[in-house]
Symmetry: C4
Subunit: 276 residues, 4 copies
Amino acid sequence: MKKDKHLKPWQQKLHEVIYEADTPAGKLFDLAILFVIVISVILVMLESVTAYIMEYAHEFYVAEWIITIIFTVEYILRILCIKRPKTYVLSFYGIVDLLSTLPSYIGLLVGGANLLFAIRALRLLRVFRILKVTRYIGESQKLIKALKNSKAKILVFLFAVLIICVIAGTLMHLVEGGNGGFDNIPLSIYWCIVTLTTVGFGDIAPITPLGRLIASLIMIMGYGIIAVPTGIVSAEYSKSYETKTPTNTQVCPNCNETKHLDGAEYCHNCSHKLNE
Amino acid sequence: MKKDKHLKPWQQKLHEVIYEADTPAGKLFDLAILFVIVISVILVMLESVTAYIMEYAHEFYVAEWIITIIFTVEYILRILCIKRPKTYVLSFYGIVDLLSTLPSYIGLLVGGANLLFAIRALRLLRVFRILKVTRYIGESQKLIKALKNSKAKILVFLFAVLIICVIAGTLMHLVEGGNGGFDNIPLSIYWCIVTLTTVGFGDIAPITPLGRLIASLIMIMGYGIIAVPTGIVSAEYSKSYETKTPTNTQVCPNCNETKHLDGAEYCHNCSHKLNE
Amino acid sequence: MKKDKHLKPWQQKLHEVIYEADTPAGKLFDLAILFVIVISVILVMLESVTAYIMEYAHEFYVAEWIITIIFTVEYILRILCIKRPKTYVLSFYGIVDLLSTLPSYIGLLVGGANLLFAIRALRLLRVFRILKVTRYIGESQKLIKALKNSKAKILVFLFAVLIICVIAGTLMHLVEGGNGGFDNIPLSIYWCIVTLTTVGFGDIAPITPLGRLIASLIMIMGYGIIAVPTGIVSAEYSKSYETKTPTNTQVCPNCNETKHLDGAEYCHNCSHKLNE
Amino acid sequence: MKKDKHLKPWQQKLHEVIYEADTPAGKLFDLAILFVIVISVILVMLESVTAYIMEYAHEFYVAEWIITIIFTVEYILRILCIKRPKTYVLSFYGIVDLLSTLPSYIGLLVGGANLLFAIRALRLLRVFRILKVTRYIGESQKLIKALKNSKAKILVFLFAVLIICVIAGTLMHLVEGGNGGFDNIPLSIYWCIVTLTTVGFGDIAPITPLGRLIASLIMIMGYGIIAVPTGIVSAEYSKSYETKTPTNTQVCPNCNETKHLDGAEYCHNCSHKLNE
């Protein structure tokens, strides 16, 4: 381990408030940040509704800057009170914190009507603030781990789905070629994905009898093979739940019998006293 | 335990009929109430069909009052024949019983054309009577328990779905911005939920190639991650089925310790020889 | 057991051909009937296409009568060569056999333009012939058994779905009342079922922001609770698969030790020879 | 085993590069072929977009021939460096390799405007090149094996789905007969498949109350029975994960019998005392 710089007392206190949730102050800080995050994401959403941005342009502007300043202060404090700021800055949450705060400042610097789309895209980056919420959910770690364990299998499955869609899409393009939604193969593949995943928008739908027959096969296939990822994750979960033998690793000093019940005081094989 | 008021004989008899289903009278009472509940809910539904309410307004009115009176009597009897009426009144079923009976009376009191919407909303509360049916389903307890056990994980999962939808919705708004259904972010998020849950109404659908590519990814993601809640509940269910501790039912003749390992010859608690 | 009438040799031979599939003749008979069933169902389908029935009315008529006569002969033979004809006639397959053959004869008897709908309905009964196919699928028994085991739980689940739909449908009717698809509660409930089951036709869809919010909740709920029936059936299936201890019920004649490994010849506890 | 022809040194070297992935050259070859496959499939897709084929007809032509030549060379090399070329040519990948290369040559030979559709279909066969990718995915073998194990059950399930759809489709045709989408039974069955699999395009949807009631039942059924294939595959997967025989690895010093029960003191085969 490298030699870390020593934290001053005020830094240690700050670290406890910001990075931990054991003290009342720490819990309050977490709740306050959670509140600002939710408010902030709702604001980004409402801002996109034309009617609202027209009427409350000024209010949105003020609110956005208050939130930006709060997050800027949080970001600086987080850097100040940690031993190795680099670890934080380059961590997932460090990048999310920066990415969701920066757009407001960049929007200030580059103000030009001809950059509108880029700025709009930038401003929407602020929605990533919602990822800051995951910091406060303990259970999510387990879920992510379970998904990671079956990742390889799920990826292979999704890849198989893609191959099916490419081939079925090409077939549908050939059969339904003349009709609206199947003009070209990429579109037919898009339709196949919509169908196989049982989403079924209905903006594109087969018209010819043969096309409908193939569509039926794709649907039944999609209905059947959804069992595969489910089976994988189920088995993965079940595995971790399976009852281990409730025995311990105590060895009888007399007969070397192992696998004694938890809490056993005498060997069940030779009646010799077990060591605690 | 607090001192309960003593029930008089007629109260005890009534209690047996209303709260229990062991006697023929109790079973008959349950069936009668079930019948009235079903009729009542069907009436509330039909009442909302304009054609019916126009033609049979009077019949609906009469039927509704008959049902209201039956439920009122039931409510009063339930209070009369129980030791601690408060427990019932504040219980889930007590609230449902009150909530589904009161609207008729309130509708009688406040009659004014300017309160139409409030009254309509109130009257629809009567549909909650259907919850009274759950009282008669034994199996439902197990289901609710299984759901409760995996509640935390399912909530985290649904929260993850929401985060995905917020980010994907913002992205779709950026990409498909000019087109009908993606005008603002809340609408785009609504579309993402419709798509990720594989519902796919089709009232809103992407048009641009890039939008369709992102939509495909969302759909495949939705098709894949549905495995997660399923896996959780499956594992939760399987767990309760799994073979328990591999111990036997031998009882130590010396210390009465139970749950000895299969094959144990001496008590693990007091070293006494176990009976074969 | 009641005294059965004795089968004559030709009846026994016929029984072997019709009811069993061990002999070449029996297999051939099964295949022939399977072929006629498939042809018959396809004919019923094609007959419903206006263009076909217009042009090939006579051919359909002839084909239908050939098939009807074949099934009539099969029905009579099945009755002739069984000990207790009543058992067959009242069995599931006996009823299906009768139900799918009778319509043709009835259609012959009652010929009147004013009975058109009833006759059309009757004629469509012939489609039930497809159920005759299940006779030839061995695996289906296991599936039906697995479904039967979890029937009670699945019914409770579907009932819960119905209750959710009734309440959510009423809510949607209240919120979206003015708009097309939510005019009355039955229609709103229909929409809720379409949505909760993730089918999502899109012929009815919410328009108001609040309606869309509730719709989102219904969809996420439907996406989440699909895990419940899946979990039930998975657990039910897994249970039957669980590895039983590969030990037998042999008891050592010397020390009464039980649970010996399959194939063990000597007691693993006292070395005494085990009985075969 | 038949006597194989001996491979010359250059054939052995080539075999290592083409059929194996252990050497750097072998890995490079695999990556190169993977790259060409992906490019090739993307080209086939883009070619179907009218706007692109109009503008870049020549470029597509050139690219296609380069790819065809690469795959032809690969095909010839694969035949040259294998002991029994027949095994490869008749294998799944051999057929895919041929099938996806041939169309370009055939398109060259038969050039006539009146064969347009056949040629178009032929050219689309090239999309099967995507199946060549599966050669490089190890995990897929396990998935295919798991699917194969539950194939019989899944097929029976899908067959049951089909029977339900035929009967429900006929019923819907009878009930909704007059309306657009239910004109004939094949169309009604198509709609039933769309509904039962929870795809729900919405291009066809019931209008009559009775039709909607039946539709609701079909949807709830589809929502409920999706649990069946999932349960099958889950159990199949879990089975392979489950803890095996509770025997230990003790070897009898007398008869070398293995797999003794945990806790056994004497060999169950020859009664010799086991070592602790």
